[in-house]
Symmetry: C2
Subunit: 205 residues, 2 copies
DNA sequence: TTGTGCTTGTGTTCACATTCACAAAGTCTT
DNA sequence: AAGACTTTGTGAATGTGAACACAAGCACAA
């Protein structure tokens, strides 16, 4: 019974991958999947998958594999994606607009409820059904209702946006700028700088 | 002398971060930086930074730190970013368009030379100075001249695009779709699924 | 030139993550 | 009902990367 061990951070990072694969399998009307079967969708070996899942409980059926639908529910619960996660987007430029209409977020339980920008010409306009608000009103985010934010502004303004978000009670930030963000320890930042993601590829050629 | 050890993959992933910080420091006219100084820009501790750099040589000056300009050159050389990396972009939708105009790529030596899409209405139009080509002509990529590709299409078409790219001689792919891509071992894929990046954040709240 | 104060470079230690190997438990066939 | 076959769950072994501590080297002042 491993359930009371500390769960490795790497395991947490892989859980969304499992979820993505399972959602795909459900769409294909697959009812059961073995760790071997899953491994073909996530490029990890079967023992790794079994071990990861076992940190949270014994979800499988020996001799059969994992039942897709219940496992989806479990992973959603583990990652706290079973409740709707209200999300704010800051930056309604090209990248921000693309993000706002990105269908993938919904599937994981993220719901973009507010969009902010600092450009006068954009404020008031709509992306989908959401009206763009003035970034100066960021402090009006209802405390405790929005915990997650996405920053898609130019890098120069990212830090001040982050400060405002933290003050408004946001605890997780997806930073899509190239800026390094200084935040209190309790706040979790995940930075995705596309140029940097590319940066390591040529090394291996 | 560690130079002949195998370089950890994690180290390679961090090198672009160092580069980014150094480029910023150069812009600030900083001539020398210590490992401690750098650590404030990349959120890693000084010994980690020194160890990473030492895999490739002794670039520092004891008592002083690292000279910014030469270190930039060294890292660029190590990551093979000192020569221009021709890059193709497939998918000229919202995300693709945002990528195409993204200024960050240039700084790292990536130069988007071709853009492809499958939608008739987009083909022939221009993004910046680059005319969008028909994805059916992907096989016309000059062999050996383009090694890197970015896929920003809907996930359903990502696999067939990847197949075509591999056939055309591309060796590194940045996959911005949620699809898992099956490619030959020699081809390097880096998948960035923004929804998945968000997926792990709520766990820690 | 000698001593003091930094900072790098790295062997060693430690912590964490992955893989292995197999018992336990279920399925299915005969 | 029994045996062959699958597949999970996990303790133990292995592998890999991070952190530490300190010797080696450089700068600068007296």
């Amino acid at each position: 019974m491993m359930r009371y061990h500390k769960v490795p951070e790497e395991t947490i990072k892989r859980m969304p991958q499992y979820l993505r694969a399972l959602l795909f399998l459900r769409q294909q009307s697959t009812k059961y999947i073995t760790s071997r079967g899953l491994s073909e969708y996530v490029l990890l070996n079967p023992p790794q998958i079994r071990k990861d899942l076992s940190y949270f409980g014994a979800f499988g059926l020996r001799g059969t594999g994992y039942e897709v639908e219940p496992l989806i529910k479990q992973i959603r619960r583990i990652l706290k994606l079973d409740v709707e996660q209200k999300t704010v987007l800051v930056g309604a430029g090209r990248l921000g607009s693309a993000i706002a209409r990105f269908p993938g977020f919904q599937r994981y339980g993220f719901n973009i409820t507010d969009i902010y920008d600092n450009a006068g010409k954009r404020i008031g306009k709509k992306i989908g059904k959401i009206q763009i608000k003035d970034v100066a009103k960021l402090n009006k985010i209802k405390a405790n209702s929005v915990k997650i934010a996405i920053i898609a502004t130019p890098p120069e303004t990212a830090q001040q946006i982050a400060d405002a978000l933290v003050k408004a009670g946001v605890t997780s930030i997806l930073n899509l700028t190239s800026a390094y963000l200084a935040v209190p320890k309790k706040v979790r930042v995940r930075t995705v700088d596309l140029a940097m993601e590319l940066g390591m590829l040529p090394y291996y050629t």
